[in-house]
């Protein structure tokens, strides 16, 4: 019964037109001009209360970003390089122009992820959770913003009264005993990356300009 309600909630969430519609080509023309392939994902900037969020989050992004058609420079390697250079903190990297550090990696673009809100206690019945993240991709040639996306997903975990996409995932997480936020991170990634123009290795590369996307917020220049 509860599952059914969650499913209905999910479908309503999926179908609700409460956000602005545009196309990938309109929203992110610079992506189509520059066509970045090799992406350097720098350590996530953490504005949440979970201290280990950035390092754990880092394990969830290679897969969906590669699936969107990009060559994600192996994070296990790039993290070590950055650490050796004293650049392990996303917060520090945010203020350095990408042209200055992306070159040794052979990166076409740099992806900055800011974890705005996070809650590891989402599995406690009766709680409320908001997961928020911002994504910003900058050209490592010019420093210009190629793609950005912000999303905030409030979830009511108190059962029958709410539900939604995340709640359904949380139910799955509980069922599999994975009482952690990795399923939430994955879902944020999936929803976010729906908006990105596909990269070179995707079947629909350079053919998705007219694909419509939903933006819950207008992309901004800053990750703040």
């Amino acid at each position: 019964m509860r599952l059914k309600l969650l499913l209905v909630g999910s479908l309503i969430l999926l179908m609700s037109g409460c956000v602005s519609n545009t196309t990938k080509g309109q929203a992110y023309p610079e992506m189509y001009n520059e066509k970045p392939v090799a992406i350097l994902v720098v350590p996530a900037i953490n504005r949440s209360t979970a201290a280990d969020a950035p390092i754990l989050y880092g394990s969830t992004i290679s897969e969906p970003l590669s699936n969107a058609g990009f060559y994600v420079l192996p994070i296990e390697l790039t993290d070590r390089f950055l650490r050796n250079e004293g650049l392990a903190e996303g917060e520090v990297l945010k203020d350095i122009p990408p042209q200055k550090f992306a070159e040794p990696f052979g990166a076409d673009a740099v992806l900055y992820v800011t974890i705005d809100k996070w809650d590891t206690n989402y599995y406690v019945i009766g709680g409320n959770v908001t997961v928020g993240a911002s994504f910003l991709m900058k050209s490592s040639k010019t420093g210009a913003t190629l793609w950005s996306y912000q999303d905030e997903i409030p979830v009511n975990t108190s059962g029958d009264s709410g539900g939604g996409l995340l709640a359904a995932l949380i139910a799955t997480a509980i069922a599999t005993g994975m009482q952690d936020y990795v399923p939430v991170a994955r879902n944020v990634n999936l929803m976010t990356l729906k908006s990105i123009p596909y990269g070179k290795y995707h079947n629909n590369y350079d053919k998705d300009q007219s694909q419509s996307i939903k933006l819950s917020k207008i992309p901004t220049e800053s990750t703040d």
Binding site: L3, K4, L7, S10, V37, A38, D52, I55, L56, G58, S59, T60, S62, E63, S66, N67, A68, G69, F70, Y71, V72, L73, P74, I75, E76, L77, T78, R80, F81, N84, P104, F105, G106, D108, A168, L169, T172, D180, V182, R186, G199, Y201, H202, N203, N204
Partner: protein
């Protein structure tokens, strides 16, 4: 009818293990085993992750798919940490052959022997 819908949606949400993405990649259990390496660093999680990396290579070959970005490179890193430089070099070359975009980083990595730092 209703139960088949439920199953369909569950499959959609479950990130089914044999799923091949629209970029034609097979990732197996990659995100989970890597996550465990981060969450509980140590021999158990690292052995499991390295095994998964090897399995992704094998299964990708079986399915005639490109090995996903970074898989060979991570195997190279494990080899490097064991001081097996030949194997490491081999893996980094494979990464570079699969993805020419990774060439600069692979060569940089070999030169710096990051695994030993």
């Amino acid at each position: 009818m209703r139960s088949s819908l439920v199953i369909l949606i569950l499959v959609f949400f479950s990130g089914c293990a044999t799923h091949v993405s629209q970029s034609n990649l097979y990732w197996g259990n990659y995100s989970n085993t890597l996550y465990m390496v981060k969450k509980e660093p140590g021999e158990v999680s690292n052995v499991a992750h390295e095994k998964e990396l090897q399995s992704i290579v094998e299964k990708s070959k079986d399915m005639n798919l490109r090995v996903p970005p970074g898989i060979y490179a991570e195997l190279g890193l494990y080899a490097m940490e064991r001081s097996d430089d030949n194997a490491a070099q081999n893996y980094f070359s494979l990464e570079q052959e699969t993805y020419p975009e990774g060439k600069i980083l692979m060569q940089h990595t070999l030169k710096d022997k990051l695994g030993k730092s």
